[in-house]
Subunit: 284 residues, 2 copies
């Protein structure tokens, strides 16, 4: 039974926020394949070692995960769904360890930076950068450290049999990470996404323009003149062309609707390069 | 004499690429103030402990240094000049150490990632992330390590009395970092930048729009309709408003020219928030 469950790859150790996103996107009935680096996620899906990959694309405080934008264009694996996860950081230690014993807190640098008020109020605790949030809990628990804690999701405490010393120590509660579910092109073709009537759709694409005055304005006009609402635009350097850029853009609408097709044809007139990265139901 | 030399703050150890940028922006006759974190640069300049700060803003391979965009808007220290530095990575070891002895290479993760071809060709050398490029040379030299090298600029080899085992090991030669020189508002007012006739100028600004359809398109129209050429646009999350963004924009032109003033007045009609970050001669 278990062998037939689909494998979904994510980055980080078991208990990472990506695992929570995986549950929201694919349900509880999947095998997870934790990967060390983001690139591995894409490689595993491309090579068929996973049926899907869950990748963080932006955080409301830290901004976009730019590396994953680069992989999206390089690997050509379509986005089929999105979700967002509220990031709640907890101070987690091996069972039996008390808060007063904690002298060091390990976590991913982004997580440490999101708990600055906690560290200001607790100057006796040193921040130590670690490769992963959930991985920090795994490490302090496996090593049985008596003076150290990890900072991670409550799921990490559960998985590694550790306990939460302080809940929700993040400075800013408006802390959400948006995730994409990626599939292979074949899978996406065979399994079109089914949704309730009235669902809104989003389309993500990437394009570059010739380096001429007003090029980006003209590109955006393809959407604005058709009342297609842009949700996000992100620029990334274009390899081999210093100071030129690729633009990643999300708009509200289905790529195969008539208005979007007209906009995309208009954009093709202007763009040097254009690729649809995916069309998926708008997340909550 | 030395005590009167202006102090310029940069991030990284002596010998960092930022020091090369400092030399290009301020000449050789300055004291440098190396800082551990980017935020310290801004704090030192704001508090008058430095007369200027040199900050990296984007790299043609890695993309923008987003943290510094955030600091630009928070600290309100004007940009008065820009330059770009070609990034050449060298494998550097203590004197007497041979290439065949090297088993570990320390450097900043971005630098390690920019030398992947070198590591693929030399699988016997382990990559070890370190906090700084020049700092890695300082460490291997001070510790007198016999099996380790740092990856950094040739200036770092000079400064720490180390020697270069392999020159220019970066995979992509189109590797440039753009730096800004920041001053205090008072300094910038008292010392207007003087340039040769015919020099081109750039203006950097940041704005946010109401979250309405077509808002970014309308904002860019303020420039496009006046033939003001955009050089770069960057989006960053807006704190406290999940999934809304600040836009950082560079255009070619002087902020105080009539056409730019008209464009800025037009943009003010549309923007919720608008601030000029600086107006400076276009770098080579």
């Amino acid at each position: 039974m278990s062998a037939r469950r689909p494998v979904i790859a994510f980055q980080g150790e078991r208990g990472a926020f990506s695992q929570e996103a995986t549950r929201k996107l694919c349900g509880p009935d999947v095998e997870v394949l934790p990967c060390v680096r983001f690139e591995e996620l894409f490689q595993n899906l491309k090579a068929g070692r996973a049926a899907g990959a869950v990748v963080p694309i932006e955080n409301t405080l830290a901004g976009s995960v730019h590396e994953n934008y680069d992989h999206l264009v390089n690997f050509e694996l379509p986005i089929v769904a999105e979700t967002s996860v509220r990031i709640v950081h907890n101070l987690i230690a091996p069972k039996g360890v008390k808060f007063s014993q904690i002298k060091r807190a390990f976590s991913h640098p982004v997580a440490l930076n999101q708990c600055l008020d906690f560290f200001a109020a607790n100057p006796q605790i040193e921040r130590i950068p670690f490769y992963d949030t959930a991985g920090s809990v795994k490490m302090v628990t496996e090593e049985g450290l008596q003076d150290a804690a990890g900072i991670a999701s409550s799921v990490a405490a559960e998985i590694y049999g550790a306990h939460i010393l302080r809940r929700s120590i993040e400075s800013d509660r408006q802390n959400f990470t948006r995730f994409f579910l990626l599939r292979t092109p074949e899978y996406a073709r065979k399994h079109p996404v089914r949704v309730a009537e009235g669902t809104q759709w989003k389309t993500s694409l990437v394009f570059s323009t010739r380096n001429i005055p007003g090029a980006l304005f003209r590109a955006l006009s393809a959407f604005a003149l058709r009342d297609l609402n842009l949700m996000k635009i992100e620029s990334r350097p274009l390899r081999g062309k210093p100071w030129e850029y690729l633009f990643y853009l999300d708009f509200l609408g289905r790529a195969d609707s008539e208005v979007a097709q007209n906009a995309l044809n208009h954009l093709r007139e202007i763009a040097d390069f254009l690729r649809i990265l995916g069309c998926y139901p708008k997340g909550a």
